[in-house]
């Protein structure tokens, strides 16, 4: 492996500073929110109290840590679903739809095998979710490769399509009788139940395996070399005899598989598929991928950070009376700073490198001619 220690440090600096800046900006919001809250006073220490209880809630005890890991698990996968795509020059905004597809497929398989052994039911349902997600990813990949339709546009449209179609199916064809709201039948033995009195479940292992696996794929295999080459310079990839179209379709399918697995895990954890499945893990994957700089291990760390905020938020609300929604605010601000990397570099007077890699994928003009 090529070691580039200096560039690694460079890649960590901007995400770290973005988090710092986001926490600072959020502090101001927390202080102001105290002003309009029940006590109507300015408490300059409130942010510190809030962040402290957030930390304690997430890492203070074994249960908290377990909650953090469980919250981080789907984020790792959706982070990969976006991050691996970025490596191939594709901006997959469709993780949301791929999550729903994977989750729905897993719930149907779970219902079918609700009395099979969990050792069979769970892996089959998870695998089915992955495959369904891969299909949902393949479609925009195919459209991009053969018609030039931009994946940002097609995945956004597919998100809406999948959401409405699946919820329609659950409301109608697959609605289980005997419940007050529209949902599928329970997945029975395929449910991912917590072990050892915590929320930790079997699906965590699947997610954790995907991290080194995708690192190996991207950096140690010829397939990954093709993915990165197509992302960095599609015309050169074509010249070198690679097949950019095929690589794009493969990558989008892979991204969909990761997101599908995330959805399957979340649904099997819940035990059924609700008609209104409002999960933000698909979009959170964008933040995770950018924060992790599309590096699988970076994605793992980012997912744990965001998962910790989710897991610690309830305690923060109790102790500091800061609403849990502040987590969405922090996450949003992090994303803004990451996307506006130039701003962060200006604030901290960092050298501005040429726009390359992932950021280029996002800021690149739409409607470019697809090569191949």
């Amino acid at each position: 492996m090529i070691s580039r220690p200096r560039s690694y440090i460079g890649r960590v600096v901007v995400p770290a500073l973005s988090i710092l800046l986001a926490l600072l900006v959020a502090s101001v919001i927390i202080i102001v929110s105290g002003l309009i809250g029940p006590e109507k006073k300015v408490d300059l220490l409130l942010p510190l109290v809030a962040y402290r209880s957030l930390l304690v809630g997430a890492f203070g005890n074994f249960k908290g840590i377990a909650n953090t890991i469980v919250a981080a698990t789907p984020l790792m996968l959706t982070g990969l679903a976006v991050g691996v795509g970025l490596k191939a020059g594709l901006f997959n905004i469709g993780a949301t739809g791929q999550v729903l597809t994977g989750g729905f497929a897993a719930s149907l398989l779970g219902v079918l095998m609700n009395d099979a052994s969990p050792w069979i039911a769970i892996p089959v349902a998870l695998l089915g979710g992955m495959l369904a997600g891969a299909l949902a990813g393949f479609i925009p990949g195919f459209l991009k490769a053969f018609t030039g339709a931009h994946e940002v546009v097609t995945t956004i449209m597919l998100n809406a399509l999948v959401q409405l179609m699946v919820s329609g199916l659950v409301n109608d064809v697959f609605r289980a009788p005997g419940f007050s709201f529209a949902r599928t039948a329970p997945v029975g033995n395929a449910e991912l139940t917590g072990v050892a009195g915590t929320t930790l479940h079997f699906g965590v292992i699947f997610a954790l395996v995907c991290i080194p696996l995708s690192y190996w794929l991207l950096w140690r295999t010829t397939v990954g070399f093709e993915i990165r080459a197509v992302g960095a310079n599609p015309t050169a990839a074509l010249y070198a005899g690679m097949k950019p179209r095929r690589t794009m379709m493969l990558t989008m399918s892979l991204c969909g598989a990761f997101a599908g697995l995330a959805g399957a895990i979340e649904i099997l954890r819940l035990g059924y598929y609700p008609a209104v499945f409002g999960s933000s893990i698909g979009f959170d994957g964008i933040t995770v991928a950018l924060l992790g700089q599309s590096n699988p291990f970076g994605i793992m760390l980012s997912a744990i950070l965001l998962g910790a905020m989710r897991a610690g938020a309830p305690l923060m609300q109790i102790q500091a009376r800061v609403p849990v929604e502040i987590i969405d605010v922090i996450q949003g601000i992090i994303l803004i700073f990451l996307a506006a990397e130039i701003v962060v570099r200006k604030i901290f007077r960092l050298r501005t490198p040429q726009v390359t890699g992932e950021l280029q994928t996002i800021t690149r003009t739409y409607g470019e001619k697809v090569v191949g």
Binding site: M1, A236, A240, T356
Partner: protein, 538 residues
């Protein structure tokens, strides 16, 4: 004080020093240009010519030194200031808006107003026509820039500067994009400008041109002036040595070729452009093992599409390509490569390299999936590294490390990476597209030597270049491509005649007034030499 003191030079740059982190781009440079003088600035890429001109044009602030115009010290704040002081710049890449007319382009930024709201188009047109007449190139102010040939677009750029009353005109590598005939025409324009008292700074790294056009030549190497010469006192060898700092072999020993059987054969090949026009119109030729076949032609006469069809990047619309006796017309890029076809692309940054990747990855870009670089799908990093180290040494690629990104290399070294990758395989045929474009003398010498060596190893080489001199220097046979056809196939030097080939490139051997068959609107093949027709708005 004497009464008959000569007037001070139009421009003096004294002791200009410009430092960038880690490098001194300009070190105590002195340059003076008289009124009516054509002063050439000669130097390799990265020698500091551009930095010096950026200082002059207000794009960079010198750390030390001063600029005097007509003996008066001035501070040039920005390009607008430079223009106001009568300095005009003609960049190598034109700063023109293709869909606007000549007049509109010239007016842009220097609007002649009839009143505060409306342009005075009539007055502007009158001035443009008058300027054109004065300097010997009548141009239609209403012609759209995109309908003009490259040579005429350049004249629009010159007009732009003159319209802004430039007295000092800087031309950055003005001939790089021109045919020999166009170069002659532009030189005539420049001489006329000088005769009218304009000062011209002519930036180039083409030695013979500088000798032909300049009144004085200042040579820059590594940010310093290493000499100033008059053309009568010097020659190409002397200038090359000054420029590079060592003796340079300007023309490689081509030796005699020993051509054997045909390895790359093209039969009645037809290829369409992106816009669906047939831009390669039934081309046939054969490259034999152990020879270099050069394709001369003005850029845009179908060479790009021809090469893409041969290498598999573009489908052909008819005809056949065969490699070592096998018909490869419908083969993929990879199949062709594996069958022994090498390719050095014309656009090295777009096609040849992944700039963000390490040099090592770029050196295996076409073979990464083969042993020893991969076993199954797993990459063998040790083998890749070893290969990279060997290539870097053998091809003298100047880099701190094999792991440095290709984008950090100079143009010459980037090209060496590509050459190292393509030349280090057993090839039957090799396509070289503009292999030395934009490179300095030292790199050109190196790449030419490698090409000759590859030829002598028995590879059939197809060389495509817009540089007629490069074609003449390397080719054993020369084909001239004009508007999608091979209009002539002649033996190389010593029988080849430069003027004759130049004429064929420009006219295809027909009367130069003949109308192009496709109406001349494509901007691709066919328009390169067309004069702007009055009222042609396409």
């Amino acid at each position: 004080m004497s009464v008959a003191q000569p007037p001070p030079p139009r421009l003096q740059m004294r002791g200009i020093t410009k430092r960038y982190p880690g490098v001194i781009a300009n070190n105590q440079i002195d340059l003076d240009v008289k009124a009516g003088e054509i002063h050439a600035l000669l130097g390799e890429n990265g020698a500091g010519k551009t930095t010096l001109m950026n200082v002059l044009f207000g794009l960079a602030r010198p750390d030390e030194g001063e600029i005097l115009l007509d003996g008066e010290p001035v501070q040039i704040a920005d390009p607008a200031d430079a223009i106001a002081r009568g300095i005009g710049m003609v960049h190598q890449h034109f700063m023109l808006i293709p869909v606007l007319t000549v007049a509109e382009n010239i007016l842009l930024g220097a609007e002649t107003m009839a009143n505060p709201i409306f342009l005075d188009r009539r007055e502007a047109r009158r001035r443009i026509i008058e300027l054109g007449k004065r300097f010997g190139f009548e141009i239609d102010p209403d012609a759209r820039v995109e309908s003009l040939s490259v040579g005429w677009q350049q004249r629009v750029e010159i007009l732009k500067a003159l319209y802004r009353q430039a007295r000092i005109l800087v031309l950055d590598e003005p001939t790089a994009v021109l045919t020999p005939q166009e170069t002659v025409e532009v030189f005539a324009v420049l001489r006329r400008l000088a005769a009218e008292g304009h000062s011209i700074i002519f930036i180039s790294h083409k030695l013979y041109e500088v000798l032909e056009i300049a009144d004085r030549i200042t040579v820059i190497r590594r940010g310093e002036v290493v000499g100033t010469r008059q053309p009568s006192q010097t020659d190409e060898d002397d200038l090359a040595e000054l420029m590079v700092g060592r003796e340079v072999q300007l023309a490689v020993e081509r030796g005699t070729s020993h051509p054997a059987e045909p390895v790359l054969t093209v039969e009645n090949l037809k290829v369409r452009s992106d816009r669906g026009q047939e831009v390669v119109r039934g081309v046939s030729f054969s490259v034999r093992a152990g020879e270099i076949l050069g394709i001369a032609g003005v850029a845009g006469n179908g060479q790009d599409e021809l090469i893409e069809a041969i290498t598999g990047l573009r489908r052909s619309a008819g005809g056949a390509v065969s490699l070592a006796g096998q018909n490869i017309t419908s083969w993929s890029v990879r199949e062709r490569r594996e069958h022994g076809l090498g390719y050095v692309p014309g656009d090295r940054q777009k096609y040849g390299l992944v700039l963000g990747f390490p040099i090592s990855d770029n050196l295996v870009l076409t073979q990464y999936y083969n042993r020893p670089f991969a076993r199954g799908i797993q990459r063998e990093d040790a083998a890749i590294e070893k290969w990279a180290r060997d290539r870097i040494e053998q091809f003298d690629i100047r880099t701190p490390s094999w792991a440095s990104a290709a984008g950090t290399l100079s143009g010459g070294n980037q090209q060496k990476v590509i050459v190292a990758r393509e030349f280090s395989r057993d090839l039957k045929a090799l396509v070289l597209d503009q292999p030395t474009r934009g490179l300095d003398v030292g790199s050109i010498e190196f790449i030419h030597k490698q090409a000759i060596r590859k030829r002598d190893d028995g590879t059939g080489i197809l060389l495509v270049s817009a540089e007629l001199d490069e074609i003449l220097e390397l080719s054993d046979r020369i084909a001239v491509m004009y508007r999608g056809e091979i209009v002539a196939l002649v033996d190389g030097r010593p029988t080849a005649n430069k003027e004759e080939i130049g004429l064929l490139m420009a006219t295809g051997g027909r009367a130069p007034t003949e109308q192009p068959p496709n109406g001349g609107t494509s901007g691709q093949a066919g328009t390169a030499m067309d004069m702007p027709v009055k009222g042609a708005k396409s």
